[in-house]
């Protein structure tokens, strides 16, 4: 088989000392970037791009790739510990991960996230090597109509993952969709709801809103009178660092399913990885014998989305390596890194640059191995951080978030906006609205609108394209099925019978 020769060649390239070092640097920087709230992968890769100028191209790309998937490992850390998702893909991890941390199980949550990510990363790497070329067809089969249907499905996932009232969850999604409309219209360039504020010309940033409704709102809520008791309890409750046997048994099927979903959805350019993590969570919740555990610290709710987002991060390299077309902003930067080195990726990059392609694939496996070796011992340190008294912890989080948000665009207005969204988030908590569906609506909103309009432009206003194109029809059917499944029990009885203790 050709594959083995190629992989052997790839490992020979990736195991050279310089490339090993690059891989390690990438993994370390990625973990750091993932852990720091606000600082996104895109910003970091863009920042480090000039450094790669002086490096050999293969080493440079290995490092940049390392930052990208390293950040997926690190991103779960802040989600779990302090309820601040740094990337759209770790929003769902925060739901159950942070609940686990509140119950003193931050250690197992972090460890299972790392283990799930490692497993998913390994599988996805093999998948790229073996099936990369045929899977490319999937990326090309998705036109505007299919994307629209996929986004509809994604929004239904957001309804399913909400733990309270369905009506409120839908309202939050629509609120998120409305927020995503701020900025300039893709088709006409008209400025929408931006009130002539230059920083709003391109819309609200994900980091701005996420830091606000998750990070700042959580801090403000924890400062409420009477909240000290709960916080002290958490600090006393911290138990084991590693998952128990039962945790591992519970998580194994979740990790497997998450990996499969993530690997498939990751290939789709734009939004694939986000939907993958939500889809994996939804699937676990629907398959679970007792879905009410979800949202209250179910370990599957951490294992599945974390596996999915890491698998997706790896397979999103497929369109880049086989078509030469970057599927997301980070990949576009990689293309930039290649062009700076005089390699313009295209459909023939696999034949013309075997060192680069196979070296990168092999390095991904090595990188994942390094990441789990880095991350498992770190779990202990992170958990110890939780013992820091909250009176010192919260100003530190505020500062880290503020610097992080500022660094995204060097825009002070973004920091103020995040603060405003902190107050919005505080209000949402007080009225029992969940922020996760809001963020999902915000991330998927522009993709949904763009593709709807594109599909209608191409079909000349014929709405039936969504049903006549088979892939699109299948996706819509799944969405309709899921929605009925969610709404049915609500019609019979109130969805959430478990009444949480009143906080007043």
């Amino acid at each position: 088989m050709d594959i083995f020769a190629n992989l052997a060649h790839g490992f020979a390239v990736a195991l050279s000392p310089i490339n090993l070092l690059m891989c390690l640097i990438g993994a370390l920087v990625g973990t750091l970037v993932g852990v720091l709230p606000g600082i996104g992968t895109i910003a970091t890769v863009a920042m480090l791009l000039p450094i790669t100028f002086g490096l050999p191209p293969v080493g440079a790309l290995i490092m940049l790739a390392g930052i990208y998937y390293g950040a997926q490992y690190g991103g779960s850390t802040t989600s779990i510990l302090v309820n601040i998702p740094g990337e759209a893909t770790s929003v769902v991890t925060a739901i159950d991960g942070h609940q686990m941390a509140k119950q003193g199980r931050a250690g197992p949550a972090l460890a299972i996230a790392a283990i799930g990510s490692f497993f998913a990363g390994c599988v996805a790497t093999v998948l790229i090597a073996v099936l990369g070329a045929p899977l490319t067809k999937l990326a090309l089969a998705f036109g505007p109509a299919e994307y629209f249907s996929l986004m509809v499905l994604g929004l239904i996932f957001a309804v399913v993952l909400a733990k309270g009232s369905v009506l409120k969850a839908i309202a939050m999604i629509v609120f998120g969709l409305l927020l995503s409309m701020v900025g300039s219209d893709i088709e006409t360039g008209a400025s929408r709801m931006a009130f002539n504020i230059p920083e709003l010309a391109d819309g609200l940033g994900f980091a701005t809103v996420a830091m606000g409704v998750f990070g700042f709102a959580e801090i403000i809520r924890n400062l409420d009178a009477g909240a000290e008791m709960n916080r002290d309890l958490v600090q006393q409750k911290i138990t084991g660092l590693m998952p128990t046997k039962k945790d591992l048994i519970d998580s194994t099927p979740a990790i497997l399913r998450g990996t499969v979903l993530g690997s498939i959805l990751g290939i789709l350019p734009g939004g694939g990885a986000v939907i993958a993590s939500f889809a994996a969570y939804t699937l676990e919740k629907k398959l679970a014998k007792n879905p009410s555990r979800f949202g209250r610290g179910a370990i599957e709710g951490v294992a599945a989305p974390e596996s999915a987002n890491n698998a997706a991060a790896q397979t999103s390299f497929i369109p880049l390596l086989t078509l030469g077309i970057p599927p997301n902003a980070v990949m576009a930067l990689m293309v930039g890194a290649m062009t700076i080195h005089g390699i313009v990726p295209g459909p023939q990059v696999m034949q013309k640059q075997p060192d680069l392609v196979w070296g990168m694939i092999a390095s991904m496996w090595i990188g994942n191995l390094m990441l789990i070796i880095i991350n498992l011992p770190l779990v202990g340190i992170w958990v110890r951080l939780l013992r820091v008294p909250y009176r010192l912890m919260f100003p530190s989080i505020v500062i880290f978030c503020a610097i992080g948000i500022y660094s995204v665009n060097n825009a002070p207005v973004d920091v103020i906006l995040a603060g405003v969204f902190g107050l919005v988030g505080y209000w949402l908590i007080k009225h029992d609205f969940e922020p996760a569906p809001l963020l999902l609506g915000m991330v998927l909103g522009p993709l949904m609108e763009e593709n709807l309009r594109r599909a209608l432009l191409i079909s000349r206003g014929d709405w039936s394209v969504f049903l006549t194109r088979p892939l699109s029809a299948v996706l819509l059917a799944i969405a309709a099925f899921l929605l009925t499944l969610t709404l049915l029990p609500m019609l019979r009885a109130k969805r959430d019978e478990v009444f949480t203790e009143s906080e007043n």
Binding site: V45, A46, L49, P50, F53, A139, L140, A141, G143, P144, S184, I186, E187, T188, G189, P198, A201, D202, P269, G270, P319, L323, G324, I325, P326, P327, A329, M331, A332, L333, M334, V335, G336, A337, T339, I340, G342, V344, P345, G346, P347, Q348, V349, N409, N410, E450, R454, L457, I458, R460
Partner: protein
């Protein structure tokens, strides 16, 4: 050269003598910030990086690239227009930010001619007419006839309002006097993906992204909108050869400073830029990207000023009705 630098330094020193006695040396005494109005890794960014890394050697100071994205590059250009005109904040503008933006954005917060001092033209990226690989016409003549006959049914892709692919396609359409449906994508990558997948019919785009796809046969190119053929695509005819001489477009990239920057600083930056463009490695790298390096007579600040003027005049009638 030394004279110019001394002059520049003297000028700067007199400017900020009372603020910073430490800076009373030759320009530049500290790092220069180069604003690039597009994401890192894009054509403008790559050209800026290649040229500025050589210029930094000449000037003896580092040049830090700051990518400021948003609103078709106009966010960054507005910021540059308002920056201190001390020669430490520069911008790499291009045909969109310093010409097409004028008719496209009626509320533009700057004017390319009134708010900037031109420094030097860096490099141009030729524009190609591309189509999906099974698009019926065989050459540009057939393409013109086919597009004119079927303009109702065809879909032209572009990478978003104000992008090079959008404005150049508008130029093509105004020359052909047709109004096909323009399908906007969020950047060149997704647009190219749709073209490779055959979801849209044709588009105009810069040479950088298209060469490997053309060579692999996943899309086809009808013509290149420059006066001469490009070495990276020797088989693609020019628009003049193929029968559409009116369609001439190039995504030029050029360096600007905020208005009021002292002429001595401009001269020293211009000299450094010209030196970079004459360097063999810089030249080789730019040519690898398919870029066109300006002829010596086009590299002066005056030539750039004239180019900006003529480009605004060229795009205004084409883009006015669109917005």
């Amino acid at each position: 050269m030394t004279f110019i630098r001394a002059l520049a330094g003297a000028c700067l020193a007199s400017l900020c003598a009372f603020v910073a006695p430490a800076e009373a040396q030759t320009y530049p005494t500290r790092g220069i910030t180069m604003i690039v109005p597009f994401a890192a890794g894009g054509p403008t960014d790559v050209i800026s990086r290649i040229v500025t890394s050589h210029m930094a050697q000449t000037l003896g100071q580092s040049i830090i690239i700051e990518n400021v994205v948003g609103a078709g590059g106009t966010t960054a250009t507005t910021r540059a227009a308002r920056a201190t005109n001390d020669g430490y904040t520069l911008i790499t503008g291009h045909m969109g930010t310093h010409a097409a933006s004028v008719p496209l954005y009626p509320k533009l917060a700057y004017h390319p001619e009134k708010d900037f001092e031109p420094i030097a033209l860096l490099a141009g990226t030729p524009i190609l007419i591309l189509a999906r690989k099974d698009f019926p016409p065989k050459d540009l003549k057939e393409f013109v006839a086919y597009v004119k006959a079927n303009s109702e049914k065809l879909n032209a892709a572009h990478a978003g309002i104000g992008s090079v692919s959008h404005v150049s396609c508008e130029l093509l359409h105004s020359i052909l006097d047709i109004k096909p449906v323009g399908v906007p994508f969020n950047g060149t990558g997704p647009a190219m993906n749709a073209l490779v997948a055959g979801q849209v019919d044709y588009m105009c785009d810069q040479i950088v992204n298209a060469v490997p796809q053309i060579n692999a046969g996943t899309i086809k190119a009808y013509a290149i909108a420059t006066p001469e053929r490009n070495p990276s695509l020797p088989n693609v005819p020019t628009t003049a050869e193929a029968g559409l001489p009116a369609f001439q477009a190039q995504a030029w990239n050029a360096m600007f400073a905020p208005k009021g920057t002292s002429p001595a600083i401009i001269a020293s930056l211009n000299a450094a830029a010209i030196k970079a463009l004459d360097d063999e490695t810089v030249k080789k790298r730019l040519l690898e990207l398919g870029s066109v390096i300006p002829a010596p007579k086009d590299r002066t600040p005056e030539a750039l000023a004239a180019l900006v003027k003529s480009e605004i005049a060229k795009w205004s009638p084409v883009l006015k009705p669109a917005s």
